[in-house]
């Protein structure tokens, strides 16, 4: 009996080693990430950061996002006309969809026509469609979709005509709305839900979806038809979908999830100490919108006084534990300047500072010496951000102390706040803008009269004229000069009070993952990650 038992045990042991070996052989590079449920996976319906993150690995546009910027992706080379209005792309002939069919110029023509088609009303039809020749007219129903300035010259040559000269159109093309799409797969029911169907989700990027339960889990594997599949480190991507950010964080800490990029901001300090917090500066600015149509914030002197009373270094380095970079003007660092190797910010210099005495002088000049006669100032902000709570408590203290005014804080639920902001029904409210493409004009575009983000209704004809002129200017140095002038006017008027530039964050343990880089679009580049 004892002998039998011993033999049995040896057999079990041998068997288990075999199994272990088998597992070793099938050792895939699997990375598990987590994000909110229901990321929209229709490249042209999606408006959220989570959807954009996944779309970036599922699709390949004409350009690919890299850690420092972008490079040609779906196209081999491009010819740009001298006035930067005609862009001719020569597509890679080895590019294939995940079902093996070739990616042709017609797939791009289809998707760009869909972008501006008023019957479909995609999310950014106005914002991105306007760049394309006749795009705005088509989006407004004044012209047929076929009139769009996008043509397939042959299967692998795509010509894009622009409405206005645009030298930075390449950086715009990195956005998911410009990805090619498969006409035979898309279902037009006005929702974008077809993209959650693994059968219909035929994509041309490094990863393809094999299963999707948009409330629980999405699984992707390497797309074997991708032209550079051999260079892709990632074999399988598991996306766990969870709404509660505390739960997500705990999954990360117990090792069930390898990487996340959103977390409850009150946990920052602990995460920094645990070595999980990895960050790189984001191409974005957080600023205050001020009501420019009503008293008292319609007075530029008051707006300047409010700005001079803010110690952004203290706010960022002490209160935000160094997780933000203090703003020294509206446009942050990282945007190209007058030539390829200059920075827009370095060229423009600092335009705002902390100067309590100057703030008091300006307040007196505005007719409110020591805050006398100044009405109660209300700050409205959404209550779901611990950062905003910290920030406004600080601003309240500063403004009351330095300017002698009374500040009331009004935290609101997100949906209420959005409606209030869109309607311009506030005195002061925070807003953030992350660059859609790497050009300072994108940051400055939102303060042009009538832009929907510009909820404070700031308006300056000179600013608008400079911005419009910059759009029609092809020479980079000249164009940057116009943008610098525009930014100077915005800061002179204090049309917005810039506060800080936030970080792109990736939370992971260095013991688990390596080769994690944050792309220029702010999202960790998934395809290069190696699970140790």
């Amino acid at each position: 009996m004892r002998k039998l038992l011993a033999i049995l045990m040896v057999a079990v042991l041998a068997l288990s080693t075999c199994v272990a070996f088998a597992e070793e052989a099938a050792d895939e590079n699997v990375v598990t990430i987590a994000m909110q449920t229901s990321p929209n996976l229709d490249p042209q319906w999606n408006a959220g950061a989570t959807g954009a993150w996944l779309l970036g690995v599922m699709y390949e546009g004409l350009y690919d996002v890299t850690a420092t910027g972008f490079e040609l992706g779906g196209a081999e080379r491009v010819d740009i006309s001298d006035d930067a209005t005609v862009w001719t792309f020569y597509l890679r002939q080895d590019a294939k969809w995940s079902d093996g069919q070739p990616v042709t110029a017609n797939d791009y023509v289809y998707s760009l026509r869909r972008l501006v088609n008023p019957e479909i009303s995609t999310t950014y039809m106005l914002d991105y469609g306007q760049y394309l020749k006749n795009g705005a007219a088509i989006a407004n129903g004044e012209m047929a979709v076929e009139e769009l300035g996008v043509t397939a010259i042959d299967d692998y040559t795509l010509e894009i005509q622009l409405e206005n000269p645009c030298t930075y159109f390449d950086s715009i093309l990195t956005y998911s709305a410009f990805f090619p799409m498969r006409e035979d797969m898309v279902v037009e029911d006005g929702t974008g839900n077809w993209a959650w169907d693994a059968e219909k989700s035929v994509t041309n990027g490094p990863m393809k979806m094999i299963s999707c339960d948009e409330d629980q889990e999405i699984v992707m594997v390497k797309n074997e038809y991708f032209h550079s599949a051999d260079e892709i480190a990632l074999d399988r991507l598991v996306v766990r979908l969870i709404d509660d950010t505390n739960t997500t964080l705990q999954l990360l800490e117990t090792g069930e999830v390898d990487l996340i990029n959103t977390y409850p901001s009150e946990e920052t300090e602990r995460l920094q100490e645990a070595g999980l917090y990895h960050a790189s500066p984001a191409l974005s600015t957080n600023f205050l919108l001020l009501q420019c149509e009503n008293e008292p914030t319609n007075n530029a002197l008051v707006r300047q006084a409010l700005s001079y009373a803010i110690d952004r270094d203290f706010l960022c380095n002490v209160l935000f534990l160094g997780t933000k970079t203090p703003a020294t003007t509206y446009v942050g660092g990282g945007f190209p300047g007058s030539s390829a190797d200059t920075d827009f910010r370095t060229e423009g210099g600092d335009l705002i500072s902390y100067d309590p005495e100057r703030a008091q002088e300006l307040m007196a000049e505005a007719g409110y010496p020591g805050g006398e006669g100044f009405p109660v100032l209300t700050c409205s902000y959404s209550n779901n951000s611990a950062d905003y709570t910290t920030m406004f408590e600080y601003l309240q203290a500063q403004w009351e102390e330095i300017l002698g005014i009374t500040v009331v804080l009004e935290p609101l639920e997100v949906a209420s706040m959005t409606e209030l902001r869109d309607a311009g029904d506030f005195e002061i409210t925070p807003q953030a803008w992350g660059a859609d493409y790497m050009d300072a004009s994108n940051m400055l575009s939102i303060f042009v009269t009538g832009n929907f983000i510009n909820g404070g209704r700031y308006s300056n004809e000179e600013y608008d004229a400079l911005y419009t002129q910059s759009l029609a200017t092809v020479d980079q140095a000249e164009r940057m000069e116009l943008l610098h002038q525009a930014e100077a006017i915005l800061m002179e008027d204090m049309g917005t009070i810039p506060l800080y530039h936030s970080n792109n964050v990736a939370l992971y343990s260095d013991d688990v993952l390596e080769n994690v880089a944050i792309g220029s679009d702010g999202k960790p580049i998934l395809t290069d990650i190696i699970h140790k």
């Binding site: 006005g190 409330d215 949906a415 209420s416």
Partner: protein
């Protein structure tokens, strides 16, 4: 009895209609609209709202909605898998929520009532005191704190139980207990109190004098009368389990209806807010109705 049942039925239907009406107008009154996004052009939102008929006068929308209800049409979700019929969203998730809710309720009843009886039997003993202390503690801890505490202890520190999803029997433990603890303790406390009342009655003394065994006295004679207030409280207890499920499902990433109830409100997904509200109202009104009818069965003295 039949007349009572009928009358209660009519009032239940009226209650349901009131819930529908009030919710419909209240949700439209709250600031914010469906499909508003941080970075979405309000012009696009406007176009979409028009497409779904949200630009029409409120009264007209309400009439359309209610007539739709009579033909079994609950509308389409605007956000959660936008375009999916609300009825399907709810039907798809009912099993999971109901399963969790029923297990939690069963645990609450099967553990809560005997615990209460036991505490009453050992009145003023050490067990009774410990029981009262812990029951009071757990009744006063809201479920969102309870679930997070459970998660922290068993999921993060001890690493014994999975933190999210329902994919193994272990993964049921935390959500079910998170939902069951409050009703269990509250039932146990109630049972204990009513049992103590009943034990002092003359007929219990008579039973004792006749030489019946304590368990027989407790479970056959005392418990039956002590049960009446307990059954009455079952209606609100079920409500407690339902509202607990909102938090529990969100925290443990469980794909039930509770999560959608919360999410639909944040997203101002009007049709889904209505759908989930009607579903929960139906459930609650139905439970209360059954509990009311059950009085007559438990206590023949009550004439309905």
């Amino acid at each position: 009895m039949l007349r009572y049942a009928l009358r209660r039925f009519v009032t239940s239907v009226v209650t349901l209609f009131l819930v529908i009406t009030i919710t419909f107008f209240l949700m439209q009154l709250v600031p914010g609209e469906p499909m508003l996004g941080e970075n979405i052009n309000p012009e696009i939102t406007e176009r979409l709202l028009e497409r779904y008929g949200y630009d029409k006068p409120l009264g007209e929308q309400f009439v359309n909605y209610v007539t739709g209800l009579f033909t079994g049409e609950m509308g389409y979700s605007l956000v959660v898998k936008s375009g999916e019929p609300v009825f399907e969203i709810i039907a798809e998730r009912i099993p999971i929520s109901v399963e969790l809710g029923l297990i939690a309720l069963a645990i609450a009843i099967c553990l809560g009532i005997p615990l209460g009886v036991l505490a009453a039997m050992k009145h003023n003993s050490l067990f009774d005191r410990c029981f009262i202390f812990s029951a009071s503690l757990f009744v006063s801890v809201p479920s969102f704190i309870m679930t997070i505490a459970l998660m922290l202890v068993f999921g993060v520190w001890l690493k014994l139980l999975p933190i999210a999803y329902l994919d193994s029997w272990q993964s049921y433990l935390m959500p079910v207990f998170g939902m069951a603890i409050y009703p269990m303790c509250s039932l146990a406390r109630l049972t204990r109190t009513t049992m103590l009342d009943v034990i002092g009655q003359d007929y219990i003394k008579t039973a004792r004098a006749k030489g019946l065994s304590t368990p027989k006295i407790m479970f056959k004679h005392a418990l039956r009368n002590a049960c009446i207030p307990v059954v009455t409280s079952l209606g609100p207890q079920i409500a407690g389990i339902l509202t607990g499920s909102f938090v529990v499902e969100k925290v443990f990433a469980i794909n039930g209806i509770g999560r959608f109830f919360v999410n639909s409100i944040t997203a101002r997904d009007y049709p889904l807010i209505m759908g989930t509200t009607i579903f929960y109202a139906l459930l609650l009104i139905g439970c209360n109705y059954l509990v009311d009818l059950a009085y007559g069965l438990i206590d023949p003295r009550i004439k309905l």
